[in-house]
């Protein structure tokens, strides 16, 4: 190589490097969204499906060039914190989000964590989307929490009413884990069942969350011979074992829950015994899922190796945050602008076929719009997949 060639190639390399660096500087600005939830320990599945839904959606957005907010394309970065289902750690996580200048956080996953972070969120101008049901989080004077799913006191009565009309159920029994979420869901479920005219034949039996053999637990419940057995607030880990124990003890009635479940877990843990099990999902069935939902499932599966059906409901929170900020770009740093926008916000629901809309609801339950409107899709499990039983809408 002579000197001229060397000079030429050096100059070319320098120009190319400069161009690449310039391109790097021209990358989209980043919008950080937080997640504070449980991704380790017994309840890891709840938070992991949240975090992975957000990461899969963020990667998708970034791959197609970003999210358009006020004419500027933003890359989305998910900042995650594992609270280990411990309220103290949830507070630390929310403080970390505040220090990072984050104004929108998904989580926490459970009641006590969601209640614990409230002061931190309110003092630091953070809007958060808990998966917890206490009404005090969403009723005035509280205003920073937005329920990220359908609450059991909304889905339960709809399920019981449907089963009364279509299956003629008259008696119901409740069984719940000995933790605040399942117990409160049991209590509100039993109250709703009584209000509908159902006879509650058992609602005192509870179990430790670490139970490995549910046969002794289930025995006194099955002896009451209910038409419907409700597994209040049951986690995906415990549902197959409870179903299996009930069926093996000879129970032939209906079994339902108001939490989201995973079809693969039910199939592995209970097999055919889970057929007919009723649970709540998102746009989880083929007849409801849009192309965007199918692509989301495909991307999630490629990214993490396996899809989790709980993500059918958990995909929505990030979508709501981004769409609301896009509707009013001032909301990116001003949560009061976000709250104002919520009252009138409406956008197409990308994950469902038809003319389903994204909007904020909750006026009936909380007196103000502090809940994302996700379709109340009630599923029945059959042979490894969920089938839609009925679809309803919550306000």
């Amino acid at each position: 190589m002579n000197r001229r060639s060397l000079l030429k190639s050096t100059t070319f390399a320098a120009i190319a490097s400069f161009a690449l660096v310039s391109a790097a500087f021209a990358e989209n600005p980043v919008l950080k969204i937080g997640f504070v939830g449980v991704t380790s320990g017994p309840a890891a599945a709840w938070g992991t499906s949240n975090q992975r839904s957000m990461e899969a959606r963020a990667a998708w957005i970034n791959e197609i060039g970003g999210y358009d907010i006020g004419g500027t394309m933003y890359d989305v970065e998910i900042v995650a914190f594992d609270d280990q289902k411990d309220p103290k750690r949830a507070i630390a996580g929310m403080e970390q989000m505040a220090q990072a200048g984050i104004h929108y956080v998904v989580g926490p996953n459970v009641d006590d964590g969601a209640a614990a972070v409230r002061p931190v969120a309110e003092q630091n101008n953070i809007i958060y989307f808990p998966y917890a049901f206490p009404k005090s989080l969403y009723e005035a004077p509280a205003s920073n929490a937005i329920l990220g799913m359908v609450a059991n006191y909304q889905s339960g009565p709809a399920i019981y009413k449907y089963l009364m009309e279509n299956n003629g159920i008259k008696t119901v029994a409740f069984i719940a884990g000995n933790e605040s979420d399942p117990l409160s869901q049991r209590d509100s479920g039993a109250a709703a069942a009584k209000a509908l005219g159902l006879e509650v034949v058992s609602d005192t039996v509870t179990y430790q969350m670490d139970t490995t053999d549910f046969t002794p637990v289930m025995l006194p419940v099955i002896k009451t011979s209910p038409d419907l057995l409700v597994l209040s607030g049951v986690s995906p880990a415990n549902a197959p074992q409870l179903i299996r124990s009930a069926r093996e003890l000879g129970f032939t009635g209906l079994i339902s829950t108001e939490t989201a479940q995973d079809a693969a877990v039910l199939q592995e843990g209970a097999g055919d015994l889970a057929n007919g099990f009723i649970s709540v999902g998102g746009a989880s069935t083929p007849e409801l899922a849009s192309d965007a939902m199918r692509e989301f499932v495909d991307r999630y599966t490629k990214m993490f190796g396996e899809y989790n059906d709980e993500s059918n409901t958990k995909v929505y929170a990030l979508e709501y945050i981004l769409a609301t900020i896009a509707a009013n770009p001032a909301a990116m740093t001003d949560i009061e602008a976000f709250k104002t926008t919520m009252d009138t916000f409406e956008a197409p629901n990308p994950y469902m076929v038809g003319d389903a809309k994204l909007s904020y609801v909750g006026t009936t339950s909380f007196g103000q719009k502090r809940q994302v409107s996700v379709p109340l899709v009630v599923n029945a499990y059959k042979d490894g997949v969920f089938e839609t039983l009925f679809v309803a809408q919550v306000d």
């Binding site: 017994p42 053999d213 880990a237």
Partner: protein
């Protein structure tokens, strides 16, 4: 009442097998292995992977769990516990190490096997029903019988094999055993491997019944500690007795106290506190029986 007793007996068999590995390690090395529950979970996930993911027979999964956990146990003893025991004069060093291993295994399980509950198909279909007085699925009966067979095999191994006799000698008096020519390092490693293998075997057996998930390790360790406290730490017969007593208490409590809410373990813990106040060494006490 027949159903309650049958449930208690089945629970007791599985609990006893879990406690055996823990008490073996404690008796040989004076180590409270807080990672025992995580080893149980790891064994369950190995069986799940072999049976559900690779499609191999259940027995292959069980062997894989036993072998992998035995190797894991041996490596943990040689490279972690042995140096710490040699260098540290304080007993809590091994407790901290065990707790650290438990956290490490939790994280490793999450990375390797994911966060979901896992299970394998029933190995035997059908339910035994004696006039509605005892209802017990055949797979539970089979697992209960296998657990009892494993307990019997373990006792026979400890009683009649050269390695078993050496480990019993170690448990009774470490220095005297060494003076009599017992290779302390070798049998400590074998003992730890055997304890870990038992944990893995139970995990593999129960994955067909209860399934397995990331969060089962800690609670399993706590129950195992309760069993050896009831029976007497470091005593094989004590671990078996503790397992069956806990299983029976749980079964009776869950049925009899159901109307009062979830107070079974409250009652069990309260009884255990009173019991230990009068007999702190447990039913069978130390040293090795």
């Amino acid at each position: 009442m027949e159903q309650i007793l049958a449930n208690g007996f089945y629970l007791g068999a599985q609990y006893a097998l879990i406690a055996l590995g823990l008490t073996l390690i404690f008796s040989l090395m004076n180590v409270l292995n807080f990672a025992h529950g995580q080893m149980y979970v790891f064994g369950g996930f190995v069986t799940y992977t072999v049976v559900a993911q690779l499609g191999l027979p259940f027995i292959v999964g069980l062997f894989a769990s036993a072998i992998i956990l035995a190797i894991m146990g041996a490596l943990i003893e040689v490279y972690l516990f042995r140096p710490v025991i040699r260098k540290s004069k304080r007993e809590e060093s091994t407790m901290l190490l065990a707790a650290g291993i438990a956290f490490f295994l939790d994280a490793a399980i999450l990375l390797l096997f994911g966060e979901k509950q896992r299970g394998v198909p029933k190995i035997v279909d059908g339910v035994f029903n004696w006039d509605m007085r005892i209802i017990m699925p055949y797979d539970r009966i089979l697992i209960g019988v296998l657990a009892i067979a494993l307990i019997a095999g373990f006792i026979a191994f400890m009683q009649y094999s050269k390695a078993g006799r050496a480990m019993r000698a170690l448990a009774q008096d470490r220095v005297a055993a060494q003076l009599m020519g017992v290779d302390v390092d070798r049998y400590s490693m074998i003992g730890f491997a055997l304890g870990a293998m038992l944990a893995g075997l139970v995990g593999g057996l129960l994955v067909t019944i209860t399934g397995i998930n990331l969060g089962m390790g800690g609670p399993t360790s706590i129950k195992a500690f309760m069993m050896i406290m009831i029976g007497g730490a470091g005593v094989i017969s004590g671990a078996i007795a503790g397992g069956f007593i806990l299983g029976m208490m749980e079964s009776v409590g869950l049925t009899m106290l159901a109307a009062y809410g979830d107070i079974t373990y409250l009652a069990i813990f309260a009884s255990l506190m009173v019991f230990l106040a009068f007999r702190p060494q447990g039913l069978m006490g130390k040293p090795w029986g």
